[in-house]
Symmetry: C2
Subunit: 199 residues, 2 copies
């Protein structure tokens, strides 16, 4: 019974994540959640006090998944190769979903910044952690002369995050890989990313 309850809770979070990402938190009603999850109203309220709590659970789960994605994507034979691989992986991630849904954190940032302080804080933390992970790789790459050294690693990391979020926005709008691919290639050049030569 406890296991069944936990499975229901997980199903609510998974289904809610999809609908929030597509419609946004604000526009999603409890009825939308009921038809998306297929659970009864009583069951939904047994697991969560309301929509905001479901949103928090979704953000928590997605944050953990995103950090795991970052750790897996930021790998390579040199720090510059790690950044390059991350660029490839983040594009692939959005390409795989046909540029539908975009970045849950970016969407929530734009939707929640002025109206849901709890969500805004959670998303702000995700962006900071993302930026910190990039900064580590940029610093290491700079030491080895594999990324331009005339700008602080922190500034370059923040620009990477901003450019990727903007690139996702453009690709999602046009349902085309072109804007995001272009932004990532331009980032590679302006960072002066030096990659190991292929054998």
């Amino acid at each position: 019974m406890a296991i069944k309850g936990e499975l229901t809770r997980q199903k609510i979070i998974a289904d809610a994540a999809q609908i929030f990402q597509r419609k946004g938190f604000g526009a999603t009603s409890i009825n939308d959640l009921l038809s998306a999850t297929g659970v009864t109203k009583g069951n939904l309220y047994f697991h969560f006090p309301g929509k905001e709590a479901i949103g928090i659970a979704v953000l928590q789960q997605e944050s953990e998944r995103f950090m795991q994605f970052l750790d897996e994507a930021l790998t390579g034979s040199t720090p510059a190769a790690c950044l390059d691989n991350f660029f490839t992986m983040v594009l692939r991630k959005h390409q795989k979903i046909g540029f539908v849904g975009g970045c849950l954190f970016g969407n929530t940032a734009l939707e929640a910044s002025d109206t849901f302080p709890v969500y805004a804080q959670m998303v702000s933390d995700v962006f900071d952690q993302w930026s910190d992970k990039l900064q580590c790789k940029v610093t290491a790459a700079q030491v080895l002369g594999l990324v331009r050294g005339d700008l602080p690693a922190k500034h370059l990391a923040q620009m990477i995050v901003a450019t990727i979020e903007g690139g996702i926005m453009q690709s999602r709008l046009k349902k085309s890989a072109e804007p995001m691919t272009r932004c990532l290639d331009t980032l590679r050049t302006v960072l002066a990313l030096k990659l190991p030569t292929a054998h």
Copy 2:
């Protein structure tokens, strides 16, 4: 009477623009619009068939205003100075509103891309026009050696748009000028923007 009607229509658009920017289209109800505008339901439906039509009118008006802003901001003694002045003006624009509301087009892009094709097309056109205006200045600056010449002007213009949208997102989330200022300064450096020396 015709003038009074036009004034009411303008008031509905102006008040709706504010509430859409803060709450998003999806989360704004007709009741929200009625209390924001103070007009009666009958009067609102006399001017607009529904929320979607109000959204279109808001996007049209804001697009025209934004193009006017771009033409005013992209001015200076050299093409590089035009880009620099635009960076300063776009920061000031968002600073003046305390990083509340953000960019209506960015918000609409994230909200409408998968659900409201009419809005998505309008916003996509705004981004294309914005990018085209930047591209003209970048090209002119490249000819004069005032911006790096190793990347196509179109790619640099697209990166500027993406980075600014991402920077607005971060500043709005943190209610701080720091992320956007940082992104714009980093853009100045990675573009290798050469400005006229002050006298």
